[in-house]
Amino acid sequence: MSIVLRRYMPLVITAILGFFMILSYPIDNPAITGISADLGKWVMILASFGLGIGAINMFLVHGHAIARMEKGRWIPSIALLGSLILTTVLGLTTGIESDQYTSLYDLLVGAGRLTFTSLRGFFMFSAFYRAFRARTWEGGIMLGGTLLVMMYQVPIAELFYPPLNVFTKWLLDVPFAGGNRAITIVGGIAMIIMAIRMISGIDKTWMGRGE
C-alpha cells in the first residue's frame, strides 16, 4: 500500500491534471473552462505556500552566516533579514495600499531593482566588444547580422551608405522572418516534449527515488 501512496499516486495525479489542462484548451464548454480557471487559482495558493519554504531557507542560510560571524558576510545577512522582517511586518499591519508601505517598498526595492535593470546596458556594451570574436566562419555571419541591425536601428547606415539599410530591411523581412518562425516552431516542440515527459512520468527526477 505504501508503495502506491509514495510513488504511483503522485505520478497519476500529475498525469491526470497535466493531460486535462492540455486537452481542455480547445474545448468550448463553460464547465471545463471553469475547472481549469479554478485549477489556476489552486496553483496560486500552492505557490504561496512554496514561497514560505523559500523564505525559511533564506532565514536558515543567513541565520547561519550571522551565527558563525563569517567575515564580511554577517553584516549583509543582518541587513537582509532586517529588511525582510521590516517589509513583511509593515505590509501585514498597514496593508499593501498604505502609503508608508509603498514608500518603504519604493525606497528599498525601487532604486536597487531599476539600477540592476540599467546594468544590462553596460554589460551588453562590454559583451559586444569583448565577447564577439568571429572565430569561425559561422561566427562571422552572426557578427555581420549584429553589425547590420545596429547600423539600421540607429541612423548610422543612413549617414554613410543608405543602400545598406535597404539590404538590412530585406534581411529582417525575409530570411530573419523565416529563421524566427523556425525557432518558434522548434522551441514549441521542445517545450511540449519536455512537458509530456514530466506529465507522463517518463522523467521522474522531480520526484526523486529516495526512501
Partner: protein, 222 residues
C-alpha cells in the same frame, strides 16, 4: 535644504543606486549591502502577497462556502512536512499537483501559439514570389539543423550546416535589436541621478566613498 523625509528617502535611493553601480568596478562591501537589502525587502513583499493570496483565494472562499478550496490549503500545508525525514515523501503531492497543472498550461500555450499559428501562417503564404520562397527555405533549413537521430551526412549534412548559419544570423540580429532599449534604460537611470537629486548624489557619493576607502585600504582583495 530642509531635512524632510523626502530628502532622506532620496538620499538612500541615491546611495543604493551608486552602491549597485560600484559592481562595474568590483564586487565590494557596499554592493553586498545593497544586494542583500534588495533581496530581503523584495522577499518580504512577496511574502505579504502570499499571505494575501492564501487569505483571499483560499480561506475567504472556504468560509464563503466554496468548500473545494480546502484541498489546495491542505496540500499547501503538506509542503512543511519536508523538514521531517520519515514524512518527507508527503511533499510529493503538492508538487505533483503543481507540476501537472503548470506543465499542462505551459504546454497548451506552446501547442497553440508557437506551433499551430505558425503552421497555419506558413501554409497560407503562397510561394509565388522570390521573397516567400526564401522565407520558406530559411524556415526548413533552420528546422533541419535540429535533427538528432539521423547522421548529418550528405544532403542532410548540407541542409543542417546551412540551417546552423541561418540560426546564428537570426541570433546576431535579435541581440542587436535589444541593444537600443538596454542602453536606453542605462540612460534613464543616469538621468534620474543627474536631474532630480543633484544634492543627494553628492551626499551619497560622500557616504559611499567611505565604504570604498574602507574596502581598498583596510582589506586587500582576497
Amino acid at each position: 535644504m530642509e531635512f524632510t523625509v523626502a530628502w532622506i528617502s532620496l538620499a538612500i535611493s541615491g546611495i543604493l543606486t551608486i552602491a549597485v553601480y560600484s559592481f562595474l568596478y568590483r564586487e565590494n562591501f557596499s554592493f553586498r549591502i545593497a544586494e542583500h537589502i534588495l533581496i530581503g525587502s523584495f522577499t518580504g513583499h512577496t511574502l505579504v502577497m502570499a499571505f494575501k493570496n492564501i487569505k483571499e483565494i483560499g480561506t475567504d472562499r472556504v468560509i464563503g462556502g466554496d468548500v473545494i478550496y480546502v484541498v489546495p490549503l491542505l496540500l499547501g500545508v503538506l509542503f512543511f512536512f519536508r523538514y521531517k525525514r520519515e514524512y518527507a515523501w508527503v511533499t510529493r503531492y503538492p508538487l505533483a499537483v503543481l507540476i501537472g497543472i503548470t506543465a499542462g498550461v505551459e504546454a497548451r500555450a506552446r501547442f497553440h501559439g508557437w506551433i499551430w499559428k505558425q503552421l497555419i501562417e506558413t501554409i497560407s503564404s503562397p510561394l509565388n514570389n522570390l521573397n516567400n520562397i526564401v522565407v520558406f527555405l530559411a524556415l526548413v533549413l533552420t528546422i533541419s539543423y535540429f535533427t538528432f537521430t539521423i547522421k548529418h551526412t550528405g544532403a542532410v549534412g548540407v541542409a543542417a550546416r546551412l540551417g546552423r548559419m541561418m540560426l546564428l544570423l537570426t541570433f546576431g540580429m535579435t541581440i542587436a535589436m535589444d541593444l537600443v532599449s538596454r542602453i536606453g534604460s542605462a540612460v534613464a537611470r543616469f538621468d534620474w541621478l543627474f536631474t532630480n537629486i543633484p544634492y543627494v548624489t553628492i551626499a551619497s557619493t560622500l557616504v559611499f566613498s567611505i565604504f570604498v576607502i574602507y574596502e581598498l585600504a583596510v582589506k586587500k582583495p582576497t
